[in-house]
Amino acid sequence: MERPLRLISSNPVDELARTIEALLVVAGAPLSVDTLAEATADDADRVEAALELLSERFREGRSGIVLEHVAGGYAFRASREAADACSRLFERPVERGLSQAAMETLAIIAYLGPCTRPEMTRIRGVNVDGVVSGLVERGLVVESGRENEFGAIRYKTTPLFERVFGLESLAALPRLDDLGADVTEIRTRLETVAEKRPA
């Protein structure tokens, strides 16, 4: 029944297939037939017919984009042919340095000991949430309990941090005698300056 229909009415399954194509290229997770039917306001049978069409169009050997049926539904992937190019794209070159934001936040944690995001925010004069998440993701910084029972989470540096900076321990950090005699003095100095800084 399907083939003759397609021939008569300007191929509506093909049009549906185009819409599904569009949905799949935007989706961040596989889409089920039901989800696709809901989004296209069409019925599941026709969605399945369109998916069949797409499987034919986007298949290994014919296209670099391949439609894959996985547990959660349908999703696009890269063809096997393109595996080498993909791994070159996704292989991350060694990061040569850290951003100013990352370096400042790291220095605050390293020198002042476990500290909370509000403390770092106060000293840097800007919200550090994103920066701290980045440092945690890189494994340079890790959670270290809470300030008190219900307080803010504190962060400390990791052994990886020490390795990257070539330090035997935190005690080997370059001295900052010019900023203060001890951690408390340095902290006070930084906080005082932060208050005076515009922005």
């Binding site: 935007v26 961040g28 992937r77 020198y111 900023l179 300056v193």
Partner: protein, 249 residues
């Protein structure tokens, strides 16, 4: 003219009420499009079919004042600094900054329009569902001195705001002390407001400090009938004789 009815985006009602609300700071001036107020005025004028010069004059002064208020509202923290400028310089500076803000507004308008045009453009924000996993990032060896360097940078005191331009603009107090002494040699009393007419605000302030100085030295007497009434200055001796007269009376 104050009963001019307005129908703006941020305000509907008579012009008079708009003024009141703005002066009471109950209506933020930056939300009022003053060009629309002007258009409403011109339309109203055209509808009347006669040119009321007095009304036009009043409107011009009021709308100018609103424009200045609005302009100053754009950089409140620098109002003091602007007050130091000569009127032409201030006008120049205000116009420059208003134009700058205009550009920001134009830019914002363009971006808003652009975003509207992109409303039917959908794309994926995160990683693709079946994308290869990214390997853990690795970081090259870092110099620990950089940690110390950034903390030192964070500990640098910001420079104190420069007062150089103010020092240059301040006339010396002695200049006014001398001037008032000379004046009182010729006349027994004078009117402060008249004497400082045409001077800048800073000069008036310095002149007032000179008055206080002379009063401290017991050289003059200062009298003022009421708050904001003219300040009368007289030689201390003449004041004394006056007091004497009063007591004897």
């Amino acid at each position: 003219m104050r009963d001019l009815e307005l129908d703006l985006d941020a305000f509907t009602g008579p012009f008079d009420l708009l003024l009141t609300l703005v002066l009471r700071e109950e209506l933020p001036l930056r939300e009022i499009d003053l060009a629309d107020v002007i258009v409403a005025f011109v339309e109203n004028l055209a509808a009347r079919g006669e040119l009321d010069l007095e009304a036009c004059g009043e409107f011009l002064i009021l709308i100018s004042a609103l424009l200045e208020l609005k302009a100053r509202g754009l950089f409140p923290e620098e109002e003091a600094e602007l007050a130091e400028l000569e009127p032409e310089e201030a006008a120049e500076e205000l116009a420059r900054r208003l134009a700058e803000y205009r550009r920001a507004r134009e830019g914002a308008d363009w971006l808003t329009k652009r975003l509207g045009e992109q409303a039917d453009r959908y794309f994926r924000l995160g990683p693709a569902p079946l994308a290869p996993k990214r390997p853990e990032p690795t970081l090259a060896a870092q110099d620990p001195e950089r940690l110390a360097a950034v903390l030192r940078f964070l500990a640098v005191e910001p420079p104190a705001p420069s007062t150089l331009h103010m020092a240059l603009k301040f006339p010396p107090v002695s200049q006014f002390v001398d001037r008032f002494r000379a004046l009182l040699q010729r006349r027994s009393r004078f009117d402060f407001d008249q004497e400082v007419q045409g001077l800048s605000r800073v000069e008036i302030a310095v002149a007032f400090v000179a008055l206080l100085e002379l009063r401290k030295q017991n050289e003059i007497a200062i009298a003022q009938a009421d708050s904001f009434a003219p300040i009368r200055i007289s030689r201390a001796d003449s004041e004394r004789s006056l007091a004497w007269n009063v007591r004897s009376a």
